[in-house]
Amino acid sequence: MAVVFQKTKGLTDKQFHYCPGCTHGIIHRLVAEVLEELGLLDDAIGVAPVGCAVFCYDYFSCDMQEAAHGRAPAVATGIKRVNPKSAVFTYQGDGDLASIGAAEIVHASMRGEKFTTIFVNNAIYGMTGGQMAPTTLVGQKATTAPYGRNEDLAGMPLRVSEMLATIPKAVFVERVSVHDIPNINKAKKAIKKAFEIQMKGLGFTFVEILSTCPTNWGKTPLESLKWLQENMIPYFPLGNFRNVEEVK
């Protein structure tokens, strides 16, 4: 008998509190698996956001800090400067990273802080009950955009990967998705690459992952995956925007 798949040591035994079908869980697992596979679990320090993933400090089995809303990149900067040899990462939602924490992510990129950010873009504020995020699509409804996001008053969604790719020291920037198995595999590769580049000390590394929020999108988990694929990907194209080879 061979084990084809089992729960990674990168996760504790605590059960996720996420809603049924929420892809936060998949992303957690991928990050944890990468840490385990790269042998980094004992040296890793993660930073939890404020968002649905706030309790991820209970799920990842490595050392964790829980940061104020949006400030994970600043917290990670403090951690990494103190522990330059550790694998440091932030796990952040689109409200956390792209809205309140926009300055922190831009500046961690600018300084080339040697940590990895996992950016979970679900086009909504999950935890607080479905408010508009900077990444909410035009026309998409949210509790603070009850008539759908109005392009003229609230603008168009922020493409964070494209924006950070303009910053020299953001040496790895890639957008992936987890809506099916091939994309889950690609997502894992991108996360692995990001950690590898981090450990080489080359600069700031960033993986944007498109994710679902069945609860606040008002859809079943399966409908949500479809909606992601059909609506998010056209506006948030998948692919690599920056990698270290290009930098050198």
Binding site: L41, A67, P84
Partner: protein, 356 residues
């Protein structure tokens, strides 16, 4: 070591380094710029140390959170508007019980205000500018030497209680030069930082730095735990200077540079035959309430006169301590204006009911 002339800001920075502070996260603002500038010069000379100019005060305090959570001795500094921006971060640090040192070189407010010396951030520092129930240890040096000594000890205090410590100076403390001797302050017996996030190294359960307690019962329990700690601080850490208190008929209460000006006034009053004393709180929190209370109980003491560079903030703590036993008066200048000894003398005479 012989005494040397040091500028307050630079002396504080050097004292921090001497106390083992290896990480400084800050953002420029007058009148404390010499602190980050000095750190930018010194940190690269120290193995494993780092100076980071943060993108903002908000980022700086959260870098402090991360660094302190990893067990390092970490400092940040700013002045009033910047400290206001740090309030969320400060309450997180207090909530997560992380040791760190925060310097506030206070300037005139409110808003953009001005850049001259002030003491109008007393409430913010001692009652909690951030939300929730928490306390900072707040130290108020009145000379550059004292700033140096307190800064060094601040790191030990922070580590002992796992609590942020604030050094509260004003533009004068930051900008003036005075003779300084860097002595080794006695080191405290400190617990190991077993809670710090440094990687599990496969040797322990994962550590979590956190201030979230979603279950209100757990949140209350955590608050009670914090207040037990604060009670310890109140028991152990109160510091106060009593000056010329023997037979004083009027007792000044003043801290920081204002207390020095009051001392000039006391000298003048003495020459005119008026016995005046001074209670100078060195810890603004925990407040030396007992000292004030004891003074209020003395028969020779007729009245208290609190002098501040504010519209009247610490005077509330004086009133709380005096608790009606004696009249408590207030004299203040604010917005960057500094009281003169002459004005204080005049005010004291007024309190005592006309010239004597």
């Amino acid at each position: 070591m012989a005494k040397e002339l040091w500028k307050g800001n630079e002396a504080i920075a050097e004292a921090a380094i001497k106390a083992g502070c290896k990480f400084f996260f800050g953002y420029p603002i007058t009148p404390q710029n010499e602190i980050p500038e000095y750190m930018a010069m010194r940190m690269p000379q120290i193995e494993g140390a780092a100076f980071v100019q943060a993108e903002s005060e908000v980022a700086a305090i959260n870098m402090v959170y991360g660094g302190a959570g990893s067990g390092a001795r970490v400092m940040t500094s700013s002045s009033s508007p910047g400290i206001s921006l740090k309030q969320e971060g400060i309450t997180y640090i207090a909530g997560a019980e992380l040791p760190c040192v925060i310097v506030n070189i206070v300037r005139g407010g409110p808003g953009l205000g001005g850049i001259q010396p002030a003491q109008s951030d007393y409430f913010q520092a001692t009652k909690g500018g951030g939300h929730g129930d928490y306390r900072l240890l707040v130290l108020a040096p009145s000379s550059v030497q004292e700033a140096v000594d307190l800064t060094q000890e601040a790191f030990d205090m922070a580590d002992q209680y796992r609590n942020p410590v604030m050094i509260m100076g004003d533009g004068m403390i930051g900008q003036m030069m005075e003779p300084v001797e860097f002595t080794d302050v006695p080191k405290r017996n400190l617990p190991e930082k077993t809670w710090a996030t440094t990687g599990t190294k496969g040797k322990r359960e994962h550590n979590v730095i956190n201030s979230l307690f979603i279950d209100p019962a757990a949140c209350e329990k955590h608050n009670i735990h914090l207040f037990e700690k604060y009670a310890e601080m109140e028991k152990n850490e109160v510091r106060v200077e009593e000056y010329n208190m023997d037979g004083a008929e009027i007792v000044f209460v003043a801290y920081g540079t204002t207390a020095r000006i009051v001392k000039n006034a006391i000298a003048t009053l003495g020459k005119e035959g008026i016995k005046a004393g001074l209670i100078r709180p060195i810890t603004l929190w925990p407040y030396p309430s007992k000292t004030v209370e004891a003074a209020a109980a003395k028969a020779n003491v007729k009245a208290f006169l609190t002098v501040e560079m504010s519209m009247g903030q610490m005077v509330e703590d004086v009133r709380l301590a005096v608790n009606g036993a004696k009249p408590v008066h207030f004299y203040g200048r604010t917005g960057g204006m500094v009281p003169t000894p002459a004005a204080i003398v005049a005010e004291a005479k007024k309190v005592l009911g006309g010239a004597k």
